[in-house]
């Protein structure tokens, strides 16, 4: 457990630093999928294998591909110096991040977690499905949240199409007959 934890923690943190500090934006996206893979490994260690599968499918697969599409559509070739990719808030941002990280780590570290023990997670996928639908002892609010999430996804899909749609007549419309 300790070896796996150290490996996954170093992978996650190194990839997170890579996202922030790499000069090429493509490398940032690939580092990001590495960090997501590390998080998926943590989910396996925390008795949530179904969630790890979701993580690999949605984050490492779908979100990374969508972000790579976004990069492909929006990037001009530009000089890759740190002066051009870092905004003027370098040091204020650094101190804010150090402060937030130190505060959060301190708060969770001084807390007395002696009553906690690993292994309370539900390994079975059937149990996770019942939890998500709010049946069989799960809080019934989950049923409502499930419905709200489905409506939210539909709204997000429609909004993405509407926002990024090119209006007829703007720019080059290939295949649109006026």
């Amino acid at each position: 457990m300790v070896i796996a934890f150290v490996f996954l923690a170093s992978m996650t943190l190194i990839c997170s630093f890579g996202v922030v500090l790499s000069r090429s934006i493509i490398h940032s996206a690939l580092f990001m999928s590495g960090a997501f893979l590390g998080i998926a490994g943590f989910y396996v260690m925390l008795n949530a294998p179904a969630l790890a599968a979701f993580q690999v499918l949605i984050y490492v697969g779908a979100v990374t591909v969508v972000i790579l599409f976004g990069i492909m559509f929006t990037q001009r070739p530009q000089a890759l110096h740190y002066r051009t990719i870092i905004s003027r808030q370098l040091w204020p941002g650094f101190f804010v991040a150090i402060g937030v990280g130190t505060f959060l780590a301190y708060v969770v570290a001084i807390q007395d977690w002696s009553g906690t023990e690993a292994g309370n997670g539900l390994r079975s996928v059937a149990q996770l499905g019942e939890n998500l639908l709010g049946v069989n002892g799960a809080p019934p609010i989950f049923g409502l949240l499930f419905e709200v999430a489905s409506v939210l996804l539909l709204v997000a899909v429609i909004a993405a199409i509407v926002v990024s749609r090119r209006r007829v007549g703007d720019g080059v419309d290939r295949g649109v007959e006026e």
Binding site: V2, S16, I25, N47, S87, T102, T116, L128, A138, L152
Partner: protein, 116 residues
């Protein structure tokens, strides 16, 4: 097997305390916040926000596994968080595309139409 080696192997096989996962989540959240504050490219800012969401998800799942009364419900919340984050990425990248089409840039400090 000599007892020192046995003790070392036991240490390696022991379950980790909850603080380990929480501290990893906190550090990852801080790295994501740092990147979201200092990077100019809006797509990288999105990636850093995804890192922050994942850090919080890791804390949720750690609590769901470690707290005796949690009943594993944190995993259900984590699934909902993933769904909301996916929706956020879709809408956010659409906005970035729309901004790029009108301003020809995605650097967040050059899109300053609302600046007073």
């Amino acid at each position: 097997m000599p007892p020192q080696v046995q003790q070392f192997v036991d240490t390696l096989n022991a379950a980790l305390p909850l603080e380990g996962y929480l501290v990893i989540g906190a550090i990852m959240f801080a790295i994501g916040a740092w990147g979201a504050l200092i990077r100019r490219n809006a797509v990288v800012v999105f990636m850093c926000i995804e890192l922050m969401i994942n850090a919080v998800n890791l804390s949720l799942v750690a609590f769901a596994d470690y707290l005796p009364d949690a009943g594993g419900f944190g995993v259900g919340y984590a699934v909902l968080v993933i769904a909301v984050a996916a929706a956020e990425v879709a809408v956010g990248l659409a906005i970035v595309l729309a901004v790029y089409r009108s301003r020809k840039t995605v650097n967040v400090d050059e899109v300053n139409l609302l600046k007073g």
